[in-house]
Symmetry: C2
Subunit: 147 residues, 2 copies
Amino acid sequence: MENFSPEQRLEQMVQRLRDGDNRITPQRLAVLKVLAYSNSHPSAENIYSELVEHFPTMSLATVYKTIALLKHKGEVLELEFSDLGNRYDGNKPYSHPHVICTECGTIIDPSMHDLEEITKQMAIETGFKITTHRLDFYGLCPDCQSK
Amino acid sequence: MENFSPEQRLEQMVQRLRDGDNRITPQRLAVLKVLAYSNSHPSAENIYSELVEHFPTMSLATVYKTIALLKHKGEVLELEFSDLGNRYDGNKPYSHPHVICTECGTIIDPSMHDLEEITKQMAIETGFKITTHRLDFYGLCPDCQSK
DNA sequence: CATCAAATGATAATTATTATCCACAAAGAT
DNA sequence: ATCTTTGTGGATAATAATTATCATTTGATG
């Protein structure tokens, strides 16, 4: 998976919506921009409050709907947190590691790949004091595959 | 991290509560038993509905309170899912990989440790068709460490 | 520029979890 | 065994994030 610039990502997202016969409304474009340019893994609320200043007509529901659309098309990665709420990554919409501060909720992207050793590197690279991790694999179980 | 039998885990949990001057009530004991013996990563609701049959006085609030207590003491692992709701693992209350079916929500424990290669092994071992994974590290960021 | 399906926005509904509060019960002292 | 105290259970209200609803508005195509 290569990295794309925010400009490229925005263009990719827009194209993806066009291809799916989805309209490029000002509201959607605004949400896409935030997702493409932000590297802070914003929540829906974050996106909304950033936009509502310069776009008073914006509704939180629209943010959620746009995110749902992008999620469906694989153009945004959803990070699920029951306590922090969901956070979104539009820069790299594919599965990749994150480092989350359990105190302030900061989420950053480390740059790498293995595991017991990885955790140490992770700590060195990010300066975090890592206490635990989460590694889940998602897919279809045998029962569900045969349906 | 070694594995303990359900009996051992139950004893550990009970001991942990006793040490903390927490009372071992019938309700708590019942919740602990489910957590120690179940290997299906139950939700709070799952635990409640399993218990309420044979324990009509049980309240869902009590289940949540008991879980919170155990979580605080590190005796249960919370798996956060914004869509499935939280699920709990009392067998192995330490961080370890899971394999989750995105269709039916089944969660199982694989038996191993590494990552690109791991995903393949994971698929072979579990029969899942793995489409994505989640790898998060949790800890304190530099800012929060210095407070 | 007229059409019309699709999107917006305000709000209600839903769902999981947490907080509240009082009656009650567990564990230690008498 | 009974008393006492303090923690706990249970019913329910409150909270918070997300999703659904639906009347109104709007973007894109012919």
